[in-house]
Amino acid sequence: MMKINYGYQITLNDLSNLEIDIFICANNNEARKYCLFDKIKRNNFIKKSISLYYNNVFDSRNDLEYKQIKKHTEVERILDDEIKACKKEELTIIVDYSCMTKSWYYTILLYLSNSDNAFKKINCYLSYTPSRFSLPLAPKPNSDISPLPGKIIMPNNRPKALILGLGYEENKAQGIIDQIDPAKIFLLYSKPTIDKRFTEAIEINNANVINDFEETTYTYDFSSLLDIENKLRAIYYKYNTEYNIIISPIGPKPFTLVSMILSIIFPEIEIWRIGSGEDINPYPREPFNEDHFIICEIVYKQNQIT
C-alpha cells in the first residue's frame, strides 16, 4: 500500500518536460474543462489522456479517450486497467478535477493510497481551473447528505464536529447543520478570493450561520492550499480526540481537495457530501484566466509514514 509522503503547491511552469503516464479530466459543458490539458500537452509528453463523462459527451477530440462513468466504482476499474498496465517504478499522473464530481476525484485519491501496486513512487498532480464569477442560483433540494463513497468508517458513540466549507448558495449551510446535528461547528470560507464578489456572495448568503457561529468561523486564502491545510489541521489536532471530525465541503473545489487529502492522511476524518442528485444548478464556469491554475503535487511512496 502507498502512503502520501508529501505535497506541494506548484505552478504551471513546474509542469514541463514531464513524461505523463495518465492525464485524467472530466467532460461536461463548462468552458474551462480543457484549459489545463491544452496547456500541458504543449510542453509535455502524455501517454494516455482520458476524459470521463457521465451521460453526454459534449465534444469530440482525437487527443482524448472518452470513458463513461455511471458510478464511482467505475473510476476504480479504469484506474485498475490503466495503472496496472504501466510497468515501471515511478508513475506520473495528472488529474484535472475542475469539472469532476467529488466522488470521482476522491476515488482517485483513495485508490492511489489503498491499492496494492509495484510502484516505488507515484507523482500525482491535481489541478483546478478557477472560474469567473457568476451569480449564485437558488439552491436545489438535497437528494443526499452522506459520507462520500469509497471510505468506510464504522459509526461510534462519539459526538460529531462538523467543519463546513461554505459555498455561495443561500441557506444551504444552515440546512446541513440542522440535518447532521453536530456537537461542534466550524465554518470556513474563502477570503480573499480571485474575485471579491465570491466572498461577498458567501458572506451575504450565509449571514445567518456566520452570525450564529462567529467564534468558530475562519477564512482561508482561496489560492493557497497550504493555508487551507493549516486551518483544517489546527481544528483536527484540537478536537480529534473527543469528536468524530466530519468535513462537508460545499464551497470551492480546492478546499474539497485539501479536505480529501487530509482524510487520507488522518483516516478518522470523514468527508460528507451534500448532493442534489441529477437536479444540479447549471453554472457557465468560464475560466477566470487562461493561465490561472491551482496545482498541487502529491507524492505517494511505498510503506512510508507521514
Binding site: 491499492s115 468506510i152 440535518q179 442528485g277
Partner: protein, 592 residues
C-alpha cells in the same frame, strides 16, 4: 445577539448533567421508568433523547427537582444509553454502495452495533460505580476484577490494563482495525478479509453474563438494566427487527427502551404481527410524543416557557409578559355590538361579498351580526371565528370578479402573543426553546414587544422550513420533491381559507392513500422531521400504515401559508396534488 439554536438546546449533544438542568418533568417520564419494555415515538427534536438521557445516573443525580431523590430510588433499573444518529443510516448505505460481499457487510454492521453497545455498557458501569458507591480501595479491586472478565468475554487482548477506560479505548481501536481492513478490501480485488474472532460477538449472548458478573462483584442496589436505544429510525434494519422481537422477552434483568420516528418501518410491522410478535399492553408500553392531546402538549410548553423566564430572572407571568392574542382565546369572546369580534365580522362583510352572502343565508344581518340564540352562536359564530379574523386581515376587496389582498410585510397581530408562542412549535422543545430564548435575548425584564415576538416567530419558522427543505430525498422520475409537496398542500389550505368563496369549514388537514398516489417516502420523512403531525386519536395503536391516516402541516408553516393555528376539515391528499406534476429537471451533471 442572535440565539444559536444548535447550542441552545439539542439533547443529543448535551451532557446528561446539562439536560437535567433544563428538564421539565412530564407524565411520559413516569411511564418510561416503569419496569417494562417501552417504545417512545416522535419526530426529531420532540424530546425523546431528553427522556432517554434523563434515565441515566449522571442526569438523575444532577436533577434539581423536589421528587428527584424518590424517583432515583423508585426507578427499578440502571439505564444503558445507546445513541444512534443519522450517520448510522448513511454508513449502512455507504457499505452497501461498495463491491464488498454481502456477508461481510452484515458481519461488519453487527460488529459496529455490538461495539457501540459494549462501550455504552462500560460507560454505565463507570456511572454506577461513581454515583452509587463510596469511593474506596475496594472499588478499584472490584473494577479490576470486572475488567478482567470483560477482557475475556469481549475477546480483547490480555495485555491491556484491566480498567474500564482501557477497555473502551481498546474497543475503539478494534473499530479502526476493521476500518482499515475494509479499505484494503474495497481497493484490492484479491485481498482476503480477516475474520477476527471478535467480529462474531453478540451482545444478546454476552451481555447477560457481563451483567451477572457485575452484580456478583459490586452487589448494586438495582437488579435490572434498561438498554435505551435512542433514535432507532437510523439503525440498521436487522437491529430494528431484532429489538422489536426482543420486546417479547420476559427476562426482567434486561429491559428495552426504544425511541423511534412516529411511523415504524414495514419490516418491524411484520415482526410485531407475526405469531411470536410482542403485543402492546402485554409485552410493552408506548409513549407518543406528538400532539395527540393538545392540552397536555400546551401544558408542557407553558412549563417550559415559565422555566425559561425564570432563568432570565423575569418575574412577570408569562401570559402578561408576552401578552394574549385574543384570536385564540376560545370561549372568552363577547358578542355585543361593540365587541372586537363583531366589528371584525362587520368589517369583513363590507369587503367580502361571499362572506356577506353566507351571513344572509344564515339569517344574520351583516350590519348588525348579533347571534340570535346559543345554537347559532356555537354553530356559526364560534366556528367561523378564526376564518373571519384571517380573511378580514388579508382580504382587501372581494366585491368584484377578482379578489385582491392587502399587502402587509408583517402579520404581527396574527403571529405574536402567548397563545401563538405556546402552539406554534407543536410542543417541540428544541424549537420552542430556540424561539423563546431569541425573544428573551431582545427583550427587557417587563415585556416582550409584539414586533420582536413576530420577528422571531418568522425567523424560527423560516429556519424550520429551511431545515425541512434540506431533508435528503431521492426524487425519482415524475415524483415531486418534499418542498413541492408541502407547497402544494399549504397553498391549497391557504386558498381554502382565503380564496374567492368564503368557506366556513376550510381544509387544513389531509388523509393519505398510497393506492391512489404514492407519497409514502415524503410523508415518512416529513413525519420524522416534524413537517407533518399525525392526527390520530387513539393512544393504543402502533402506527405502521400511513394509509387512511390524517395529518396536518406543522404550525411552523402557519406564517408561510397565512394559516391560523387550528386544525380543520380533512381532504384526500391526492385531490390536492392532482396529476399536474411538474416536469423533472433535465439532467445536468455540472458541479460548481
Amino acid at each position: 445577539m442572535a440565539v444559536n439554536f444548535q447550542n441552545s438546546f439539542n439533547a443529543r449533544n448535551l451532557d446528561p448533567k446539562e439536560i437535567a438542568k433544563n428538564f421539565i418533568y412530564s407524565q411520559s417520564f413516569d411511564v418510561l421508568k416503569n419496569k417494562c419494555h417501552t417504545v417512545i415515538l416522535g419526530a426529531r427534536g420532540c424530546g425523546k433523547t431528553t427522556l432517554m438521557k434523563m434515565l441515566t445516573l449522571p442526569a438523575l443525580y444532577n436533577w434539581d427537582y423536589i421528587g428527584a431523590h424518590k424517583f432515583i430510588e423508585d426507578i427499578p433499573f440502571y439505564a444503558i444509553y445507546i445513541p444512534t444518529d443519522i450517520s448510522w443510516l448513511y454508513k449502512d448505505f455507504a457499505l452497501n454502495d461498495t463491491k464488498i460481499d454481502k456477508k461481510i457487510i452484515d458481519l461488519v454492521s453487527k460488529f459496529s452495533v455490538n461495539t457501540n453497545i459494549f462501550e455504552s455498557v462500560c460507560d454505565t458501569f463507570l456511572n454506577v460505580i461513581t454515583h452509587e458507591f463510596n469511593n474506596d480501595d475496594s472499588l478499584l479491586d472490584a473494577e479490576i476484577s470486572l475488567s478482567l472478565i470483560l477482557i475475556d468475554l469481549l475477546k480483547l487482548d490480555f495485555d491491556i490494563a484491566p480498567r474500564l477506560e482501557s477497555i473502551k479505548e481498546n474497543l475503539r481501536y478494534r473499530r479502526n482495525i476493521i476500518n482499515q481492513n475494509l479499505s484494503k478490501l474495497i481497493y484490492n480485488n484479491n485481498y482476503d478479509f480477516e475474520y477476527f474472532d471478535f467480529l462474531h460477538l453478540n451482545y444478546i449472548d454476552v451481555l447477560p453474563l457481563i451483567l451477572d458478573h457485575f452484580k456478583r462483584i459490586f452487589e448494586p442496589k438495582k437488579n435490572s438494566w434498561a438498554l435505551c436505544f435512542d433514535e432507532l429510525e437510523f439503525a440498521p434494519i436487522w437491529l430494528k427487527k431484532q429489538l422489536y422481537t426482543l420486546l417479547r422477552s420476559t427476562d426482567q434483568r434486561i429491559l428495552f427502551k426504544l425511541s423511534s420516528s412516529p411511523i415504524l418501518p414495514k419490516e418491524v410491522d411484520e415482526v410485531l404481527k407475526g405469531d411470536a410478535g410482542a403485543s402492546l399492553g402485554n409485552d410493552f408500553e408506548i409513549i407518543k410524543m406528538w400532539d395527540t392531546n393538545s392540552q397536555s402538549s400546551n401544558e408542557f410548553s407553558k412549563k417550559l416557557i415559565d422555566s425559561l423566564l425564570k432563568k432570565k430572572n423575569i418575574r412577570v407571568r408569562a401570559k402578561d409578559y408576552f401578552g394574549s392574542n385574543f384570536r385564540y382565546l376560545d370561549g372568552l369572546e363577547t358578542y355585543t355590538t361593540d365587541s372586537e369580534y363583531l366589528s371584525q365580522i362587520k368589517s369583513l362583510a363590507t369587503k367580502d361579498i361571499s362572506f356577506r352572502e353566507y351571513l344572509i343565508n344564515k339569517n344574520i344581518d351583516p350590519q348588525n351580526p348579533i347571534p340570535t340564540d346559543k345554537v347559532q352562536l356555537a354553530s356559526v359564530f364560534r366556528k367561523i371565528k378564526p376564518i373571519v379574523y384571517y380573511r378580514n386581515y388579508f382580504i382587501k376587496d372581494n366585491t368584484s370578479t377578482k379578489i385582491s389582498y392587502s399587502i402587509n410585510k408583517k402579520y404581527i397581530e396574527l403571529y405574536s402573543g402567548y397563545e401563538v408562542l405556546i402552539g406554534i412549535t407543536d410542543g417541540n422543545p428544541r424549537w420552542l426553546i430556540g424561539l423563546i430564548n431569541s425573544i428573551l435575548n431582545r427583550s427587557d425584564l417587563h415585556k416582550a414587544d409584539t414586533n420582536i415576538q413576530y420577528d422571531e416567530v418568522e425567523r424560527t419558522s423560516n429556519r424550520f422550513i429551511n431545515f425541512i427543505n434540506n431533508t435528503p430525498y431521492h426524487k425519482q422520475g415524475s415524483k415531486i420533491s418534499i418542498i413541492e409537496f408541502i407547497e402544494r398542500v399549504g397553498d391549497f389550505f391557504k386558498e381554502s381559507l382565503l380564496g374567492k368563496v368564503f368557506n366556513p369549514e376550510p381544509y387544513s388537514s389531509f388523509t393519505y392513500d398510497s393506492n391512489i398516489m404514492d407519497f409514502t417516502e415524503i410523508i415518512e420523512k416529513g413525519l420524522l422531521q416534524g413537517a407533518f403531525i399525525l392526527l390520530d386519536e387513539g393512544d393504543e395503536n402502533f402506527d405502521f400504515e400511513l394509509n387512511n391516516k390524517r395529518f396536518r402541516l406543522s404550525y411552523m408553516y402557519s406564517h408561510q401559508f397565512k394559516l391560523p393555528l387550528r386544525t380543520g376539515k380533512e381532504i384526500k391528499v391526492d385531490k390536492i396534488i392532482s396529476d399536474n406534476i411538474t416536469v423533472p429537471n433535465l439532467f445536468n451533471y455540472d458541479e460548481n
